[in-house]
């Protein structure tokens, strides 16, 4: 009896997430082959691909992005895997967990700026050791952070993908018999890391695999981080597609479509390579297991894992502090580690022009996350308290927007919208934010939703309460904190969205994020500092409200405050 409603809920989810993606892909693929009636393209042709192939250094753009994405994914998986293997169930694990978790809330662009301010030739790291160690009295002429091999970009991506993969792993760990397996492995003489790899890794990896693919797709296709940290001559393919898409010459849209289609191919290639890497990894692990080698002395490996995890957080948060210093810095000539004077001048100058994008950003984030929360509640309510396993198919759908490169379908959506004569504006940007925010809100609320003791609702039903009253008077109040957290997660995701805001807004809707990324080429550090800092702080504000809300509202209800 409950079966059809559950299917209904999942079908709705598939529709809401799948439809824009399919429509967007169609809007990319058709113009790529020359079909775009709104711009006079009626003939199917390969000319635009020829034009794409003729673009200078196009192969280099493709390969840099592909390699950067793959390296990021390998490194992030290795760091998280090594750390979890080395420390699962130890006090250090909990300590580093608290250190790394807040990093997830920092938007990609803010994290990228944080890193840029640290490593640039005139950045903090070099100032610290100049001129004493380096002898530099002027910033050297290094191509940093936009190095041609995309190393800075890879570092920035790793710093942001590690906390994501780590939290996904944390969610999967309770379903594994970690303590028993590691005791067994230790009793057999295995080192922690090798024991974990042999006993638990295959099961763990199966559970986080979709998220690893999401990291891969994201890193291969990233635009905002690539604009801030990535190579410039030439930029990676997704950045170039974004530039073509924003070209005043409308004809460039055909080229952009061809590029976005090519990016789809790059992502497919990246996935194929990753699957090959998985096979190799599996074979290596099988050999290792069969060899029976114990790797009992793995202190160095474990330390490296912990160090890498810590470095991600320390780097980004140090960078964010640096941003805040820059935003109030007076004169700050090169080798000085700290500014000579502090001044509110930059803030005073920027504030008047900050309010409008700030208002738009917050309005978008609040509306998108509230809509997503309402929809999530309806969805979970419809799907009932059925066990997670039965709904696994439905929840896998949530990864759909994370497994298709943004540029390939967002750009198509923009083309479709313009062809249909829709005016880009708040509503259309909100709609696309909703698609990106929804998966995170559902993922965030579904575990607490399942954990509510079903007996509360049975008791209320026994009192003769109708189902809706039970939802509003019992379940939702019990989930108050979880709802606020889901709202904050959605808020943070919306804040961090760059490409959807830029393309669907067609430049008419400026948010803190689009402004910050646009400023990155200008290079006024004080102004960038302000924008990146505001962008980085907004999600924390949301999480602060989420944690204080229950404290205030349930001042007199001890059990509701924790």
């Amino acid at each position: 009896m409950a079966q059809p409603t559950r299917l209904g809920g999942n079908a709705l989810l598939a529709l809401i997430l799948g439809l824009p993606i399919l429509a967007g892909l169609a809007g990319t693929i058709l113009p790529a082959f020359g079909y775009l009636p709104a711009l006079g393209g009626f003939r199917v042709t390969l000319a635009h691909f020829a034009e794409l192939a003729g673009q200078p250094h196009i192969l280099r753009s493709v390969l840099t992005g592909l390699a950067a994405g793959l390296l990021t994914t390998v490194a992030a998986t290795a760091v998280v895997g090594t750390f979890v293997a080395g420390f699962a169930g130890t006090p250090t694990f909990a300590r580093i967990q608290h250190l790394v978790s807040p990093l997830l809330a920092v938007p990609h662009a803010a994290a990228a700026f944080a890193l840029a301010f640290l490593v640039a030739p005139s950045g903090f790291l070099l100032r610290l050791i100049s001129p004493e160690v380096t002898g530099f009295t002027r910033p050297p002429d290094w191509l940093l952070p936009n190095d041609p091999f995309a190393l800075t970009m890879i570092a920035g991506l790793i710093a942001k993908e590690v906390p994501f993969l780590f939290l996904v792993t944390l969610a999967a760990l309770p379903q594994l018999a970690v303590t028993r397996a590691s005791r067994l492995a230790a009793a057999l003489g295995y080192g922690r890391v090798a024991g974990f790899a042999v006993c638990l890794w295959p099961a763990l990896y199966r559970q986080i695999r979709l998220s690893v693919f999401a990291v891969l797709v994201y890193s291969v296709s990233v635009v905002d981080v690539a604009m801030i940290l990535g190579p410039k001559l030439p930029p990676t393919l997704p950045v170039r597609v974004t530039q073509w898409a924003g070209d005043d010459d409308l004809g460039a849209r055909f080229l952009a479509s061809a590029g976005a289609f090519l990016q789809l191919g790059v992502v497919v290639a990246a996935m194929a390579i990753w699957i090959a890497l998985e096979r190799i990894g599996k074979a290596v692990l099988a050999r290792l297991t069969f060899s029976g080698r114990r790797f009992a002395r793995d202190g160095a490996v474990r330390a490296a894992g912990a160090l890498a995890m810590t470095t991600c957080t320390v780097t980004i948060f140090a960078g964010l502090s640096l941003l805040s210093i820059w935003s109030v810095a007076g004169l700050w000539p090169f080798p000085d580690a700290l500014p000579g004077s502090l001044t509110p001048n930059t803030w005073m100058r920027i504030l008047p022009q900050l309010w409008a994008p700030l208002g738009t950003t917050v309005a978008l984030a609040l509306s998108a996350s509230s809509l997503a929360l309402v929809f999530t509640i309806l969805l979970l309510y419809r799907n009932g308290i059925a066990s997670s396993r039965k709904n696994a198919g439905g929840y896998r759908l949530l990864y759909l927007p994370l497994l298709v490169p943004e540029i390939s379908f967002i750009f198509g959506l923009q083309v479709l919208m313009l062809s249909a004569g829709l005016t880009p504006g708040f509503a259309s940007v909100l709609a696309v934010h909703f698609v990106f925010v929804l998966p995170y809100v559902v993922l965030s609320l579904s575990a607490p939703w399942r954990e509510v003791d079903p007996r509360f609702e049975k008791i209320a039903a026994g009192f003769g309460k109708p189902a809706l009253e039970i939802l509003f008077a019992v379940r939702l109040p019990l989930l108050f904190r979880a709802c606020l957290t889901a709202l904050a997660v959605g808020f943070a995701v919306s804040i961090s969205l760059y490409l959807p805001t830029l393309l669907i807004g067609s430049g008419r809707l400026t948010t803190i994020t689009t402004e910050a990324v646009a400023l990155s080429s200008g290079g006024d550090r004080r102004v960038i500092g302000i924008y990146a800092l505001v962008q980085g702080l907004l999600p924390f504000l949301a999480f602060l409200v989420a944690s204080l809300g229950p404290q205030l509202l349930f001042r007199n209800r001890r059990a509701m405050r924790t």
């Binding site: 009896m1 409950a2 007996r455 049975k458 039903a461 003769g464 209800r557 001890r558």
Partner: protein
Amino acid sequence: MQENAGSKSPIKTGCLTLSEVTIGLGGRALLAISATIAPGEVLTIMGPSGSGKSTLLAFAGGFLDPAFDVSGRILIDGKDLTAVPANRRHAGILFQDPLLFPHLSVGGNIVFAIAPDVKGRGARRRLADAALDEVGLAGFFDRDPDTLSGGQKARVALQRVLVSAPRFLLLDEPFSNLDAALRQQTRELVFSKARAAGLPTILVTHDSADAEAAGGRVIEIGMEEQA
């Protein structure tokens, strides 16, 4: 004053009948039972865990997981409840834990349970105050349930279910989480209230002392699995 605010049931209740109820799971029969429980009578179902005794309560309350195969009917005062949804059955349920709603005050918990036909804030408040007073908790209306002792919580849970004017009571090992001294007191309180309110009651337990205190018929189930 001691007008038994909680036990004054607006709905006249009658016999609770389990008519040839059989419950199975995945082709295996768990239990088969037929019984009529008079108003104020307690029927005790004894059995080890996994014997399906909680499943029987879920069936009676209207919460049975569709994975179970059930046949038979449940009737109250001759009216068939089998197809009636849980929120129209008026089954009062007490679980092992008091399960006071943590977001409401002690009084809020009771007011929530009072049937909507008691109208007016004043009237509902008076009923709740009287219900608390009856079990020695006068003045507890505005308290946070989390600050109550285990015995106090159990008494609030009992009064909460009684003010909801149930037609029958379902007790799912409601004493097993209480310590020995408290258990005896709470048992006496629950059974005397159920009797005074004239409610047919089903108690499931694995504790034979519960069955003795209930003082009614005892049906033992699932013994072959235990042996």
